[in-house]
């Protein structure tokens, strides 16, 4: 069965330090992978996606993610964290290729950046 896991409920990082939010997946076939961010009391905003090509994907707000096929991971990274990056982050994977583009969602990771 298709699945996606975010192993950390919360990640704490000091401002200016690099951050990583982890995501692993299990799908059949080639995965389509996504990261979204949710600020308090708001909808989700699309950050970046991996469909094919370069394993390092760059997205909005200075975020990037690395697709690692052998480890079935798609970790979100940023070289220098900002307090304004504090939010809830969701990883998602497309369901089966014939699924009308449904996504399967991780449970979310709360990122807290401390000044």
């Amino acid at each position: 069965a298709q699945s996606v896991a975010q192993p950390e409920d919360q990640v704490n990082v000091a401002e200016g330090n690099p951050l990583t939010v982890k995501c692993t997946y299990s799908v059949s076939g080639n995965p389509y992978l996504f990261w979204y961010v949710q600020y308090p009391n708001r909808g989700l905003q699309f950050l970046l996606k991996y469909i094919t090509g370069d394993n390092l994907v760059k997205g909005s707000y200075g975020f990037e993610a690395e697709f690692n096929k052998s480890q079935t991971s798609f970790h979100l990274k940023k070289p220098s964290a900002l307090v304004s990056d504090s939010a809830l982050y969701f990883c998602a994977v497309r369901d089966r290729p014939d699924s009308n583009y449904q996504l399967i969602w991780g449970a979310g990771t709360k990122l807290i950046i401390k000044p």
């Binding site: 909808g43 996606k49 009308n100 449904q102 449970a107 979310g108």
Partner: protein, 114 residues
Amino acid sequence: DVKVTQSSRYLVKRTGEKVFLECVQDMDHENMFWYRQDPGLGLRLIYFSYDVKMKEKGDIPEGYSVSREKKERFSLILESASTNQTSMYLCASSETGTGRVEQYFGPGTRLTVT
């Protein structure tokens, strides 16, 4: 920019009431989705639609119905609201096409059923 709007940001309803949540997108997207979001559970798909008048059940359709009479509008209906339907409801839309499958979300409706 894609814009997805939802009719209310906050809604308070009584148990047993019929509740309508409206969602409109302005990018001519074929697919539209309704999710509910609860702490620790992530997003759970209630229903989605891939065309006008077409719908498919998601993971948790019980107690909900949907309507899509026009391409830009997707409505979620709680036939008889219950307290366990208190939640954040998120609407999303997406294109149909290889590589353009990311979903775009509305701001959400926080529904409280008392």
